[in-house]
Amino acid sequence: MIHLKNINKQFGVGPASISAVENVSLEIADGEIFGIIGYSGAGKSTLIRLLNGLEKPTSGSVKIGGLEISAIKGKELREARQKVSMIFQHFNLLWSRTVKDNIAFPLEIAGVRKAKREKKVAELIELVGLAGRENAYPSELSGGQKQRVGIARALANDPEVLLCDEATSALDPETTDSILDLLTGINERLGLTIVLITHEMHVIRKICHRVAVMEAGKVVEMGDVLDVFQSPKESITKRFVSQVTEPAEAKQAMAHIKDEFPTGTLIKLVFVGEQTEQPVLASLIRKFNVDVNIVQGNISHTHGGAYGTLILQLLGDSAVIEEAIQYLNENDVQTEVIGND
């Protein structure tokens, strides 16, 4: 569906120019939810704007459904944009229009007749769960409701691709989840390809199929979300993964445990997919003469399956502990010794 080839984007010219995107190549399949994660300034906002021609690449090609977005302009580009719509962090609704009229705006742009427009708007309001709020102005809505209007507006011209620019970053965690559920539902029901950028790993974990990690304009890591969670390679990716798997308080608890129990070995187990459902721990205790102390546990559900971490303190003879770790590895559970006496 989306092909990016050797994209470079520079702002300014000469020595003062800034390279926002460097040599990025991506393929996004039809119907996929593709996430791009990075800190602010990583170039992800520029990258997503290349997909609907709001920015033009300095070099390289952007193709969506066979159409070379980077080469077209004028009427052709405006028509292409109706099929590649976008939602925004700050919603960007017209405050002078009601919910209904905001959703109708892209239809007016596309030249849809009034009767048809009204029918479509009614459907969309139903779809995003805003029935009863048709005549409200944006100032009367909550953040989550505003984003629902943004989504309805983006879907008005039956796009093939939906671009989400930090769509949940201004929302509280609960509202974020409800918006993400809505996006997943839309993806499944309408078969829409979704490209989203975010700095929250939680968003990637919850709805994305694949993820690209961006740092300083480059894509440093890319793959299925579950794989990236299981074995992040770059240090920036590890930082993002730990956003979800190791909340700050767990780190504190671990430091505390290390102080409390200076003996023994602290190990981190990583379970992926099916292993999360196997009684590995029970058989470990049964087979080896070690005492097991559970420090912290966590299971995250990603789009591709469950992903869990468990931090244990093993007490006992060091040779037996070695064997126990060996046993875990044989059972396809990744282990990592994070501290011992």
Partner: protein, 222 residues
């Protein structure tokens, strides 16, 4: 009673002058609105990073606005006498005041339009572009409606300034309450005429302000 308080006031003349002032204000406000809005939109769209970003157009329109906004109105009237004569064949009467009123007020309003447009969230313009909107659509369906409260309060301030300008134009023979206050009142030492003309001008200003405030409240859905 009123006759005793204002012995020199000719009420028929006062009413005629009021109508002339209202006429000058209304017509010049109308043209100021059209020209100022157009000029303000050009200033906005040609500025760096905007839809029609164009340095030359921006500098020329900016210079025009700044020059005409800076010339004191009473001097502008005098400077425009040849132009007015060429255009209308006369330099007396309410119609002859129009060129100076409009050329004096339109740049003033254009500057306010620019400020109003700059207040619009850039994201809203970007969103409209991302929906495939033409520049024309963005102007008429986004820029103007989204800045409506500021545009209306701007035209209110401008219309009130124009009432003042008509009075100044009145001194050199445009007619209206300004002429009456100056020629019949001041020059002939009839203070009561000047006073009543002033009260009438104040009433006009208050009414304009009231209408403006009402419209701003109605348009503002933020």
């Amino acid at each position: 009673m009123i006759e005793n308080l204002f012995p020199n006031v000719d009420w028929t003349k006062m009413l005629e002058a009021t109508v002339e002032t209202l006429y000058m204000t209304a017509v010049s406000t109308f043209f100021t609105l059209i020209i100022g809005l157009g000029l303000g939109i050009i200033l906005f769209l040609s500025s760096p990073g905007q839809l029609w970003s164009n340095k030359l157009v921006n500098i020329i329109s900016g210079a025009f606005v700044n020059v005409f906004r800076s010339i004191p109105f009473i001097i502008l009237i005098i400077l425009l006498i040849p132009f007015t004569k060429f255009l209308l064949g006369t330099i007396r009467g309410p119609d002859a005041a129009m060129p100076a009123l409009i050329i004096g007020a339109a740049p003033f309003y254009a500057r306010m339009v620019l400020i109003a447009l700059q207040e619009i969230d850039k994201g809203v313009i970007e969103a409209s572009k991302s929906m495939g909107a033409k520049t024309k659509t963005i102007i008429f369906k986004v820029l103007i409606p989204e800045s409506m409260p500021a545009l209306v309060s701007g035209i209110t301030v401008t219309a009130i300034a124009l009432v003042g300008y008509t009075a100044m134009a009145g001194i050199i023979g445009a007619g209206g309450l300004g002429t009456l206050a100056y020629l019949d009142g001041f020059q002939r030492s009839r203070e009561d005429v000047t006073l009543v003309a002033t009260i009438f001008i104040l009433i006009i200003v208050f009414i304009i302000q009231f209408i403006g405030d009402f419209a701003v409240r109605k348009f503002d859905k933020r």
